[in-house]
C-alpha cells in the first residue's frame, strides 16, 4: 500500500528566500503526523506546497503514490489532488449556508444534499444546516469545516492549526473526535500545530521544522524521552532555559549552579567550556529542600494545582521556576537538584 503522502528533497522558497530545505517525510494511511515548528519556520508554506497552492523549488511530492509535483514538468493542480483541508480560521464560505458549504464539495451530484446532511449529522451540526456560518460558534464552525473536508472524499487530510481559534473545552472535544475519525476512516493526516496537547492527543509521529530543515520525525514518546532540540524539549513540556556555565569534571560535565558544581552524567568534554541552556522537567528536577544549593526565593504564584516559586541563584542571569506543594517562604532557601532530569542544549544553535 502506497504512502498517503511522501515528500522527498523538497525545498520551499518564499519571497525569493529558501525557507525549507531538503524536507523528507512519509506518512501512511490512517497515520497522523503533527508538523511543529516556531512561527515563521515555514510550516504553512510547506503545507501549501503539498496542497499545490505554491510550487516547491526542488523535490518531489507524492500523494497516494502519485507524483503530484516534481518541481519541474509534473504539476497536478490542487483541485485534482484529492485533498481535504481544515483551516485555522475555518475558511467556511460566508455566503453559503452550512449545508451548501458541505454539499458543494461533494463531487457526485446525485444525493448531494442528503450526503452533506449525513456528514453534518456525524459531526453534530445537522441542526445548523440552513444557517450561515457567521451565526455559528467557533466549535460549530470547525465541525462544519471537518465535515466539508471529509465531504471531498480526500486521500489526504491537511489540518492547519485546526484548534488554535477555539476555546480550551471545545479543543479537547474536537481533538478526540478528530483522532477517532482518522483512525476509523484510515485517512492519512498532516496537522500543523505548536500545541503540545495536539501532539499528545493526535500525533502518531511528530515532525519538527527547525532552521529550515525537518530535524526529526519521531514518535511523541521518543521525543519526550530524548528531545533533540530546545524547541522539541519545550514541546515535550520541559521548562527553564536559563544559560549556565559548564565545566569539565573528569569524564562528566558539571554545571555551575550558584555556589555548587553539579555533575551531569556523560556530558564530558563535549559540553564543557560552552554556555548551555538548561531545561528541566517541571516536576522532580528541582525541589526545595532543607539543604542543597543555596538560593533566594523572590516570590511565588499558584498555577495549575501547584505553587511555583521563583528562585534567584548566584551566577544565573534569570530566575528559575520551581514547583512546590505549599507556599514557599520568602528569602534564603535551599534547592535539591536531580541532575538526571536536566537537559543541556547549546545556547546558540550551531551553524
Amino acid at each position: 500500500m502506497s504512502a498517503a503522502l511522501a515528500i522527498e528533497g523538497v525545498a520551499v522558497q518564499r519571497g525569493g528566500r529558501l525557507i525549507v530545505e531538503e524536507a523528507a517525510l512519509s506518512l501512511s494511511p490512517g497515520e497522523c503526523v503533527v508538523l511543529a515548528g516556531e512561527s515563521g519556520s515555514g510550516k504553512t508554506s510547506l503545507l501549501r506546497v503539498i496542497g499545490g497552492l505554491n510550487r516547491p523549488a526542488r523535490g518531489t511530492i507524492r500523494i497516494a503514490g502519485v507524483v503530484v509535483d516534481d518541481a519541474a514538468a509534473t504539476f497536478i493542480r490542487p483541485e485534482l489532488r484529492g485533498l481535504g483541508m481544515v483551516f485555522q480560521d475555518f475558511a467556511l464560505w460566508p455566503h453559503l449556508s452550512v449545508l451548501e458549504n458541505v454539499a458543494v464539495v461533494i463531487r457526485d451530484r446525485v444525493g448531494r444534499e442528503r450526503k452533506a446532511l449525513a456528514l453534518l449529522d456525524q459531526f453534530g451540526v445537522a441542526s445548523c444546516a440552513g444557517r450561515l456560518p457567521a451565526t455559528l460558534s467557533g466549535g460549530q464552525q470547525q465541525r462544519v469545516g471537518l465535515a466539508r473536508a471529509l465531504a471531498a472524499a480526500p486521500r489526504l487530510l491537511m489540518l492547519d492549526e485546526p484548534f488554535s481559534s477555539l476555546d480550551v473545552e471545545t479543543r479537547e472535544t474536537l481533538r478526540t473526535e478528530l483522532r477517532a475519525l482518522i483512525v476509523e476512516t484510515g485517512l492519512g493526516a498532516i496537522c500543523i500545530s505548536h500545541d503540545p496537547a495536539d501532539i499528545a492527543r493526535l500525533a502518531d509521529r511528530v515532525a519538527l521544522l527547525e532552521d529550515r530543515r525537518l530535524t526529526s520525525c519521531t514518535t511523541p514518546d521518543a521525543m519526550f524521552a530524548r528531545p533533540a532540540t530546545p524547541y522539541a524539549a519545550r514541546l515535550a513540556g520541559l521548562c527553564g532555559g536559563v544559560e549556565v556555565e559548564v565545566r569539565q569534571a573528569g569524564s562528566d560535565a558539571a554545571i555551575v549552579l550558584g555556589s555548587a558544581l553539579l555533575a551531569i552524567p556523560g556530558g564530558g568534554a563535549r559540553l564543557a567550556g560552552a554556555a548551555q541552556a538548561l531545561l528541566f522537567w517541571p516536576r522532580g528536577a528541582l525541589a526545595l529542600a532543607a539543604e542543597g544549593v543555596p538560593a533566594t526565593c523572590i516570590g511565588a504564584h499558584f498555577e495549575a494545582g501547584h505553587w511555583q516559586a521563583l528562585l534567584r541563584l548566584d551566577g544565573l542571569a534569570a530566575p528559575v521556576p520551581v514547583q512546590c506543594t505549599s507556599p514557599p517562604p520568602r528569602g534564603a532557601v535551599a534547592l535539591n537538584v536531580a541532575s538526571d532530569r536536566l537537559h543541556l542544549f547549546p545556547s546558540s544553535p550551531p551553524g
Binding site: 483541485e79 484529492g82 483541508m85 475558511a91 463531487r107 446532511l117 440552513g130 444557517r131 473536508a149 471531498a152
Partner: protein, 518 residues
C-alpha cells in the same frame, strides 16, 4: 518561473499597454520635435492654470485634512453626512456642477451682480475648482490618516507631554496627509476639463486643458501646438505626483507594524456645529444648488423637445461595456501580479503611475494622432472610444478591485481549490459571489465615470454617436440649459436605474439558499 499561461497573459498585457498607451502618447508627444513647431506660446494659459491650481490646493488641502480628520475621528450624524457629502462631490461630474451654476447666472439680473461678475471670472473658477478638489484631497488625506496609528498621540497624552508638544506630534502625523492632499489637488485641478469646457468662452480666463481641447477640436486644429501644451500638463503632474509620493513615503516612515486606528469619539457640540456648517456649505455649493437649478430649469416647458435624447442610453451602454472592459483589464493585471511575474509587475506599476499622470484629454489627443492611419484606422470608431474609456478608467478599476481582493481571505479561495471544486463553480459560486458586492460597487463607479466622461468623449466620439457629456456641454454652449438640464437628470436617473437593477441582481445572487433540512 515557467513560461505558461501567466507568461502568455503577461505578453498580451504588455502588447495592450504598448499599443494603447505607450504608442499613442509617444506619437503625440514627439510631434513638436518632428514638425519643428516652435509655438512655445500659450504661456498665459499655463501660468494662469498653474496659479489657479496652486490657489485651489492652498484652500482645498487644509479643508480636506479637516474633513479627513473629522470623518475618521468623529462619530455621529455630522461625520456621516460629511462622508456622504465628500462622495457626492466626488461623483458629481464637474460639467453638471458648472451647468447648474451657469443656469443660476444665466439670468441677466444675477449676472449683472458682483457675484455674477465674479462667477464668470477667476472667482467662479476658483469656487468650482475648490468644490471639485476637496473630495480628492480629503479622500487621499483620509487614506493616509486611516493608516496612521493612534498610539503616538495616546502615548503623548498618557506620559504627560505638554500640550504644545502634543500639537506638534499631531501635526507631524497630519503633515504628510495635508501635503499629499495638496499635491493631488494641484494635479486634479490642473487636469480638470469639465469646468472650463462648460464655461467655455463665457469665462474670460485662459485655462490649459481648454486650450489643448481648442487646439484639437476647434478650428484651426493644431496637433503640434496641443502636444506642447500636453507636455506642460504632464510635467506639472509629474512634479506634484513625485511630491505626493515622497510625502506618502515620509508618512509611511512614521508608521509601524502593529497599529491601532484612532478610536472614534463624539466631538464637542461646538466643534460639531462648526463642522456641520462647513459640510453644509460644501453640500449646498457643490450638490444642492446645482442640482436644484438643473431640476427647476428642466421643468421649464421652454422647449419641450430634447435634442440628443439618444445620448443617455448610448452613454449608459458605453458605461456598461467600458466598465466591463476596465474591470476585465484590472482582473487580468491583478492575476498577473498574483502570478508574480516580477518584471511584468514593474512594467505594470510604471504604466499605472504614468497613466495617472496622463489625463484623458492627453490620451484622447494621442489616440487621434496614433489611430488614423492605414494600419490602425480606428479613429472615428466606437471601438476606439471604448478603448479610450478603458485605458482611462483601468487605474480606477484596478485600485478598487485591488482593495476588494485585499479584503478577501485567500483561504476561502484556497479551500475551494483544495476541495476540488470545478473551475466554473469556483469562479461563479465561490470567488464571484465573495467578490460580487465590491465588484458591483466598482462596476457602478466605473460605469458612471464613463457614462458622464467628458474629455475622451469630446475628442474621440464617432460622428453620429454623441456621448452624454458632449451633448450636455454642446447644449450649454447653445445656452439651451433646459435641454441640457433634462439630459443631465435623465442621465442620472438612468444610472440610478442601472444601480437599482444591479443591486437587485446582487441581492438575488448572493442570497444563500436557506434550506430546511429534511
Amino acid at each position: 518561473m515557467k513560461f505558461g499561461a501567466a507568461g502568455l497573459r503577461a505578453a498580451i498585457m504588455a502588447g495592450l499597454i504598448a499599443t494603447f498607451f505607450v504608442y499613442p502618447l509617444v506619437r503625440l508627444l514627439v510631434m513638436p520635435f518632428l514638425s519643428g513647431h516652435g509655438a512655445a506660446g500659450n504661456w498665459p494659459a499655463f501660468v494662469v492654470s498653474l496659479l489657479l491650481s496652486v490657489g485651489t490646493a492652498i484652500i482645498a488641502a487644509p479643508l480636506g485634512a479637516v474633513f479627513a480628520l473629522f470623518t475618521t475621528m468623529a462619530e455621529g450624524p455630522v461625520a456621516r453626512a460629511a462622508t456622504l457629502t465628500l462622495w457626492g462631490l466626488f461623483l458629481t461630474p464637474s460639467y453638471m456642477l458648472t451647468t447648474g451654476w451657469m443656469i443660476i447666472f444665466s439670468s441677466h439680473a444675477l449676472r449683472a451682480t458682483l457675484a455674477g461678475q465674479a462667477f464668470f471670472g477667476v472667482g467662479g473658477l476658483l469656487m468650482l475648482y475648490v468644490v471639485k478638489a476637496l473630495p480628492f484631497s480629503a479622500l487621499v488625506a483620509r487614506a493616509t490618516l486611516a493608516a496612521a496609528d493612534s498610539a503616538p498621540a495616546e502615548a503623548a497624552a498618557i506620559h504627560g507631554v505638554p500640550f504644545i508638544l502634543r500639537v506638534r506630534i499631531g501635526l507631524r502625523l497630519l503633515a504628510p496627509s495635508i501635503a499629499v492632499g495638496f499635491a493631488i489637488a494641484v494635479i486634479e485641478t490642473m487636469q480638470e476639463f469639465g469646468i472650463p469646457a462648460t464655461l467655455g468662452v463665457t469665462s474670460h480666463v485662459p485655462i490649459l486643458t481648454y486650450a489643448i481641447y481648442q487646439h484639437l477640436a476647434e478650428t484651426p486644429t493644431d496637433f503640434a501646438g496641443a502636444s506642447i501644451l500636453c507636455w506642460r500638463l504632464i510635467a506639472v503632474a509629474a512634479v506634484f505626483g513625485g511630491l505626493a509620493m515622497a510625502c506618502r513615503r515620509q508618512g509611511a516612515a512614521i508608521q509601524h507594524g502593529r497599529m491601532r486606528p484612532p478610536a472614534r469619539q463624539r466631538p464637542t457640540l461646538r466643534r460639531e456645529l462648526a463642522f456641520a456648517a462647513l459640510t453644509g456649505l460644501f453640500a449646498l455649493v457643490g450638490i444642492v444648488i446645482p442640482v436644484v437649478a438643473l431640476f427647476v430649469r428642466a421643468l421649464q416647458p421652454l422647449a419641450a423637445s430634447m435634442p440628443h435624447a439618444g445620448a443617455v442610453l448610448r452613454s449608459l451602454g458605453f458605461g456598461m461595456v467600458g466598465a466591463t472592459m476596465s474591470l476585465g483589464v484590472a482582473v487580468l493585471i491583478l492575476r498577473l501580479r498574483a502570478a508574480g511575474a516580477r518584471r511584468m509587475i514593474a512594467v505594470l506599476d510604471v504604466a499605472l503611475v504614468a497613466n495617472m499622470a496622463v489625463p484623458g484629454l492627453v490620451l484622447g489627443a494621442g489616440y487621434i494622432v496614433a489611430f488614423n492611419n492605414d494600419f490602425l484606422p480606428l479613429y472615428g470608431s466606437r471601438l476606439l472610444l471604448l478603448i479610450g474609456y478603458t485605458a482611462g478608467m483601468a487605474p480606477l478599476a484596478l485600485r478598487m478591485m485591488q482593495g476588494a481582493l485585499d479584503d478577501l481571505d485567500p483561504n476561502l479561495v484556497a479551500a475551494a481549490r483544495l476541495h476540488g471544486l470545478p473551475r466554473l463553480t469556483r469562479l461563479v459560486d465561490i470567488e464571484g459571489m465573495l467578490l460580487i458586492r465590491p465588484f458591483t460597487y466598482a462596476y457602478l463607479l466605473v460605469a458612471a465615470a464613463i457614462m458622464f466622461e467628458l474629455p475622451v468623449s469630446e475628442l474621440l466620439y464617432p460622428p453620429g454617436a454623441t456621448p452624454l457629456g458632449v451633448a450636455i456641454v454642446t447644449l450649454d454652449q447653445m445656452s439651451d440649459y433646459a435641454a441640457s438640464a433634462r439630459l443631465a437628470l435623465f442621465g442620472l436617473a438612468a444610472m440610478a436605474g442601472l444601480a437599482l437593477v444591479l443591486a437587485a441582481g446582487v441581492t438575488l445572487l448572493a442570497a444563500p439558499r436557506r434550506l430546511r433540512p429534511a
